[in-house]
């Protein structure tokens, strides 16, 4: 082993207490950084995942102009052909659903509430939507669970939010009337439905103002053919959203379609994720500054306590560069050891929460809401390898950065004074 590495390693081992204290600090920082990063990113993924499953999608294809004026005048007319084209050109696609969104009025007796009606393909929607999920149902059945043959009274089924059911004072099996303004007519189109299911998502705007029905019933109610409002694409990885959206924008005929990412359709959710991530980064910066100061202090004291040793080296003809290298190797050994240990501990913690999940309700006694999305009670830690590598490299660079001053100070000692030092 070269002299500078030997000196560095043995000095770390000689001052075990000091090395141990510094190590504990760096190890704790690294492991907590990984743990928080995993939980934070896991939480963000959960937020995005839930948001996407609340009637959204990773990538959404609209008729040009729909987002500026979401009326029946801007519907996708050739949804079936477009859908087929997308199925073939997007290998990342796992699911694609078509939806028809209508603004209408739902009435039961004397109670009436303006709502959004979502016409969906029940069999597909249940695979991608939390609203249509069995777990969200507080009563009755999902649309997918309804028998194909209608019940005795012949009314089509409708699934409504729990708060909406309360406001309408209706329950399972009750009859409601839905009115919408059909395309190209000033008269209202009105039809009776049977409440076959009641869901609860935790989102006020869904639970109080949302109802789902079979897309064929919705198209009939609005006096439409096969038109739909949107084709919602679900991909195998949320990270692919950007490239896929960009690719589709260039592939689909310009001026006819509008391809939007989830974060463009739900900017409040995206902002909530970004804000939370920014808060996390700020917290990490504060932690890093504190740790950097502590490391600087430790290495500076270490150098000052060895003034005589460095003075002797310089007196005997060691170059200042060699003294700098000794101090740097010491910091590097310390940092590498701590990053390895802290990384292992942090990863173990991440692995636990990645497999078991973190139960927010148990820990905080309540469910959190962010960006209008109610977070799940349990979410799972997730680590982006590139981000983790960058963070670990950052800790290493930070340690080396704060070593510059003590190293230069040691290399510039005057041998005469230094060899006399206590």
């Amino acid at each position: 082993m070269k002299l500078e590495r030997k000196l560095a390693m043995r000095n770390l081992l000689r001052n075990r207490q000091r090395s141990l204290l510094t190590s504990i600090m760096i190890v704790a920082t690294v492991s907590l950084m990984i743990l928080f990063q995993g939980l934070s990113d896991g939480g963000h993924r959960a937020m995005v995942d839930i948001g996407i499953k609340m009637g959204l999608g990773h990538v959404l294809v609209y008729q040009q102009g729909y987002n500026d004026d979401p009326s029946l005048e801007h519907l996708l007319v050739d949804a079936a052909a477009t859908g087929q084209q997308l199925q073939q050109s997007v290998p990342e696609l796992t699911h694609m659903v078509r939806r028809l969104h209508l603004n209408g009025l739902i009435q039961a007796g004397a109670n009436g509430v303006p709502i959004t009606l979502a016409g969906v393909d029940p069999g597909l929607e249940v695979q991608v939507s939390r609203i249509a999920d069995r777990k969200s149902m507080t009563a009755g059945q999902t649309l997918a669970e309804l028998p194909r043959e209608r019940s005795g009274n012949g009314l089509p089924g409708i699934v409504i939010g729990e708060q909406l059911a309360r406001n309408l004072e209706v329950g399972l099996g009750d009859r409601v009337t839905v009115s919408v303004k059909p395309k190209g007519s000033s008269d209202l189109s009105r039809e009776a439905f049977l409440v076959t299911g009641i869901f609860k998502t935790g989102m006020q705007e869904l639970d109080a103002f949302w109802a789902e029905l079979d897309i064929a019933d919705a198209q009939r109610l609005a006096r439409l053919g096969q038109e739909v409002s949107v084709l919602a694409l679900y991909l195998d990885d949320v990270e692919k959203v950007g490239p896929v959206a960009a690719r589709l924008s260039s592939q689909l005929p310009a001026g006819k379609y509008e391809v939007l990412r989830w974060d463009q359709v739900a900017p409040e959710l995206h902002s909530a994720v970004m804000l939370d991530a920014a808060g996390m980064y700020l917290l990490m910066v504060i932690v890093f500054v504190v740790v950097a100061a502590a490391i600087l202090n430790t290495i500076l004291i270490s150098v000052m306590k060895r003034t005589r040793e460095f003075g002797v080296m310089l007196a005997l003809g060691a170059s200042p560069a060699l003294v700098v290298r000794v101090v740097f190797w010491e910091a590097l050994f310390l940092a590498l050891f701590c990053i390895a240990l802290g990384g292992a501990l942090g990863y173990a913690g991440h692995y636990h929460f990645a497999t078991e999940g973190l139960n927010f309700r148990e820990v905080f006694g309540t469910t959190l809401e962010a960006g209008g999305v109610l977070l799940p009670d349990r979410f799972f830690s997730f680590i982006y390898p590139g981000k983790l590598a960058f963070s670990l490299l950052f800790v290493l660079l930070l340690t080396l950065l704060v070593t510059i001053y003590p190293a230069i100070r040691a290399s510039r000692l005057a041998p005469v004074e230094a060899t006399r030092h206590g």
């Binding site: 002299l3 030997k6 000196l7 043995r10 000095n11 000689r14 005589r308 040793e309 002797v312 080296m313 310089l314 007196a315 005997l316 003809g317 060691a318 170059s319 200042p320 060699l322 041998p415 005469v416 060899t419």
Partner: protein, 264 residues
């Protein structure tokens, strides 16, 4: 402390280095150090202190010189200048015929590394290195190949009676043994000059005597120039030449040890 056998000191002819005897011969009558009107002034809190005044001094190769004088006479300051650890405030300093007034600190460090060995009063061994590694250290600074420097360090330590202790750390050695390691570190790389600042000050009289025997032997048999400081009459009496300092001036430029010891 066991005195090394005379035959063993021959191992200082390290592999790859020129013969010490040959070196001693070729260096004979060549000035290693020459000081011309050298003065040194220290300034602290607007106070000026003249530590050395117009020193003229020449030390030839293979000399065994002691700088004697009471505390505060300027011995250490003079040794620091001769050892190129400090620079004079006035006058000129020549090392091996080279004027050092224009030398950068890097050049001075290289000269110290390649040409000068140091023995400090407080031994100043690196606590995390073994006796062998301490002895190797300066040669490693020079970039000498590992096998060569290790062989030279082993031979030197064996010659100085530390063959059995070379794997020990400084805190596992007595004061006398540590100072022997310091001497080994100073001479293993066959420097032109060895500077020793009160090398016996922390040793008992018997160990001090033994160390003086050792340095004297290295000077006699290998022609290494020694300049050391002391105010101990028994140590001073071992020198071939005594330079007596008082208040920063040389009061007895050249005097034989015997004469000095008589005077004391």
């Amino acid at each position: 402390m066991a005195r090394p056998e005379a035959g063993k000191t021959a191992v200082l002819d390290a592999p790859g280095n020129a013969s010490s005897t040959k070196k001693a011969t070729t260096m004979a009558n060549t000035s290693v150090i020459r000081l011309e009107q050298v003065g040194k002034v220290f300034e602290q809190k607007k106070q000026r202190f003249q530590a050395l005044k117009q020193i003229d001094l020449t030390v030839e190769s293979s000399e065994f010189v002691v700088i004697a004088g009471p505390s505060g006479s300027g011995k250490t300051t003079l040794l620091n200048l001769i050892g190129l650890l400090d620079q004079p405030s006035s006058g000129k300093l020549f090392f091996n015929g080279r004027d050092l007034s224009q030398c950068s600190s890097t050049e001075l460090a290289q000269l110290r590394r390649d040409q000068i060995g140091f023995v400090f009063q407080a031994y100043n061994l690196m606590p995390v290195l073994t006796a062998l590694e301490n002895t190797e250290m300066v040669m490693e600074f020079r970039g000498m190949a590992a096998d060569k420097r290790r062989a030279a360090a082993r031979k030197t330590l064996t010659a100085l009676g530390l063959g059995e202790l070379m794997d020990r750390y400084p805190d596992q050695l007595s004061g006398g043994q540590q100072q022997r390691v310091a001497v080994a570190r100073a001479v293993a790389g066959e420097p032109m000059l060895v500077i020793a600042d009160e090398p016996t000050a922390n040793l008992d009289s018997r160990t001090a005597e033994s160390l003086m025997d050792l340095m004297s032997q290295l000077n006699r048999e290998h022609g290494i120039t020694f300049i050391f400081s002391s105010h101990d009459p028994r140590v001073i009496s071992r020198a071939k030449r005594v330079i007596s300092l008082c208040d920063g001036s040389i009061v007895s430029p050249v005097s034989q040890a015997v004469e000095f010891s008589h005077a004391v």
